[in-house]
Symmetry: C2
Subunit: 479 residues, 2 copies
């Protein structure tokens, strides 16, 4: 029992200190580790396998919409970065600069890409000539660098992994539709595969991406009531096209600029999974993206027939397409249970001598702890159904949590009271004025998360200044 205790003991409870709980989990579940490179982490196999599954699900959805993958250089010459004024203003202060190649100083500094709008525009300016070349629907999976001062595993680090999609179109409408379509792809992935409900909406001008005309976002609520921006899709109009001279000859023989979009999702969504689903026993992975969906733990494994039965069970589940591990190590069952919980494996199956006698095994669900005796007869279909139930229940639990932590404010007094005492989303009307947005941040510590698709008329006036309201906004403290 001492080892089991140790495994659990070392996690700070989330009620005591949510930030420490989070860090304990990412380290104890062996998702990441610190390195000798300041602000950069190792993503360990257990963490990377989650990312691989996320990638596969996102990539499949992308390809279904006609997107193709490619790879552009990791370096951007300083002159290229500077071509679009808003963009360079947003990114130049936080990029890493390469100044020497081999033993020589470079003629021109290169930054390590913080994002690749500039390179994609440079590329499109070469390959797009006619309306027949449009649309171009490209994406790349890569790492990017932003020289952050403070970092946290997955949520903010100097280097992170992501995908960045960049498309160009013949018309503003088509580009705008694509922007919205990709936000919906993200939302669908979050809700179906990560079991995390999201608010779909548009960023205010203050919060939008450097150089974009409009930034669409999905926002998720973490267990501690803080928001996490989880995926963004940007509409650029023809601003970048004009700066980079990306033009095409249209059907009417006129030369016109293209309309552009970009959209990205990063390894920070692993942080979202941890902070939405995890508990004081560790990680809880949604079955759709769990590298191991079922952990078979033999009980009294030394007794005759137990390991054989466990192995037979494993082979049956593998053949049925379930991702299974059989833990036949020498650790005690209790330790294995605690470890399985720490690592967030959705379903644990115990099998011992008595179970074999009764032609059964025991399912233990990670999401709610439920114990179910299951006949070995149809264990494949039972396991698959149980995993889908876990997936659904995790989504519903997260949705209920978000609904219980979403508040409405009609006055600044109400707003500040909620912000101070009730962690969560705050819905409130806004006049559209930057001054009010700044004031809300200053006085209540909350930023605008988004102007949701699903607008509600909570009142006619801005929660801050009392003038005519134009939008309902989700506000919150955010990662």
């Amino acid at each position: 029992m001492s080892k089991e205790k140790k495994l659990v003991e070392e996690i700070t409870s989330m009620e005591t200190d949510f930030a420490r709980w989070y860090t304990d989990i990412v380290l104890k579940a062996e998702l990441v580790d610190y390195t000798s490179v300041k602000g950069c982490l190792v993503i360990r196999p257990a963490g990377y396998a989650i990312w691989e599954n996320m990638k596969n699900e996102i990539d499949r959805r992308f390809k279904e919409t006609g997107i193709q993958n490619c790879y552009l250089p990791m370096f951007i010459p300083e002159s290229l970065l500077q071509k679009e004024a808003d963009h360079v203003e947003g990114f130049a202060p936080e990029v890493a600069w390469v100044t020497h190649g081999g033993l020589e100083e470079l003629d021109e500094r290169l930054c390590v890409r913080p994002t690749s709008e500039t390179l994609f525009c440079d590329y499109y300016s070469k390959v797009v000539k006619s309306y027949r070349d449009l649309p171009q629907l490209l994406n790349q999976w890569c790492s990017v660098v932003r020289w952050e001062k403070t970092t946290r595993p997955f949520l903010r680090s100097r280097e992170f992994l992501w995908q960045e999609g960049h498309t160009v179109h013949a018309s503003a409408k088509e580009a705008h539709d694509r922007t919205v379509q990709m936000l919906e792809v993200y939302a669908d992935f979050f809700e179906k595969d990560l079991a995390i409900p999201v608010i779909r909406g548009i960023k205010t001008d203050k919060e939008k991406f450097a150089g974009a005309e409009a930034t669409y976002t999905i926002e998720a609520l973490m267990h501690d009531g803080k928001a996490l921006q989880s995926g963004t899709s940007h509409y650029f109009g023809d601003g970048f096209a004009k700066a980079f001279d990306v033009t095409f000859t249209d059907k009417d023989n006129q030369i016109k600029p293209v309309f552009e979009t970009s959209f990205g999702m990063t390894t920070r969504i692993i942080g979202a999974v941890i902070m939405v689903h995890g508990d004081n026993s560790g990680l809880k992975l949604p079955p759709h993206i769990a590298p191991i969906q079922v952990n078979i733990i033999p009980v009294a494994a030394h007794k005759e027939g137990v390991l054989d039965a466990a192995n037979a069970l494993k082979n049956r589940l593998v053949a049925a397409g379930v991702r299974v591990k059989l833990d036949d190590s020498e650790k005690s069952p209790g330790f294995k249970f605690a470890e399985s919980e720490m690592r967030g494996i959705p379903l644990r199956i115990e099998i011992g001598p008595k179970d074999i006698e009764n032609n059964q095994c025991v399912f233990v669900r990670r999401d709610n702890g439920e114990k179910i005796f299951v006949s070995l007869e149809n264990v494949e279909s039972e396991a698959k159904e149980c995993l889908e139930n876990i997936q659904t229940n995790m989504y519903e639990t997260a949705l209920a949590h978000r609904e219980a932590h979403t508040y409405e404010a009609r006055t600044m007094e109400e707003f500040k009271d909620i912000a101070d005492n009730k962690p969560g989303f705050i819905k409130a009307m806004w006049c559209g004025d930057r001054a009010c947005e700044d004031k809300i941040k200053e006085e209540a510590g909350a930023t605008s998360r988004c102007m949701p698709e699903a607008q509600e008329q909570l009142s006619d006036v801005c929660v801050c200044c009392g003038k005519k309201a134009t939008k309902m906004v989700y506000w919150g403290k955010a990662y």
Copy 2:
């Protein structure tokens, strides 16, 4: 006809100028394009899709041997790079240096990884404590940077994509076995999936990896008779372990250094596929890694029923798991044929009014141009069988070419004559002396490619100095 002519016309024939033929193909088949970043390329969708298929095949094989993926930082602090003397000497002259982060100068320069032995050792020194933690079998897919002076698409560029596997073991034997095992994984992938025969062997000390005790390699022969080092697997002994203090407590309670390996394969293997299989009509992709395996081209597509039949055919092949494209664009059939050849699609299927009448279609093989009338009855199995035949034939053709261009030399005169007049591999005996290796390079322009597994005793004496020979070596001019 003018358009078809144009597409083909623009390729230099390989007999005229092999280097230009190669460059023409990578550009015309839209595999890569140049960028504003000197020495770095865009890998375009048609090129990246090939890499994705290669990745999947390699990654699957890796995982079957127990390897897991992870991700380490792209930056290496200068002090970390310098810990292993041979390694830093090999790489320091060709790395890119980051000196500024945001607006500030860094305390210590960071290089962009040229390879990650140092980072993996740093990581393993933290996580490996006991023999129970061994072996560690990790791999990462990423990009690396080497500041090359001259570059060529895929073959040599400042940034390239690769995988790098890094393992640590409790014993020298286990590490050595792993080194050989991974070489065999590479060889199997090359021969089965890329249809390229390889020579498996060991590098001489002169040609081995910086810091390695032994470098194993697979060497392939290109169509022009030059060799391409196509994948390497390194055995490090405990050199790095001692430099980085990667130690473990063994079963006997003694603290010991681990034994290490690394192995890598890069996007240059796309160059190998082009230069082994391509011809003057363009690329020839082996079916196993071709993003599109079958290109259906309707003939007289405007006639009633043709497009419907082509679509029905496509759906049947897709359902059978074949990667199919239906080219229903407005280009002429002749242009489509030429384009399909340029892009290296293994099998073209033509279907027109007469074929529909006869319940048939026409297969045209890219590998040998053969035309086959195939009943629509069992077109799925016929297509799959045909693709496998193409795969096999491509391998056999490449093998025959290599055998026809492998020579033996017993004297320096013979050696120089072959090197001057007969492009290909030269098998010759060697005394093991670096001086002879240098002299052969100077006088015949050939480098040692490898000391093959399959040794032959061509003579008793070194081809260069006449002293006692210790090894038969494959020599050649190389990319």
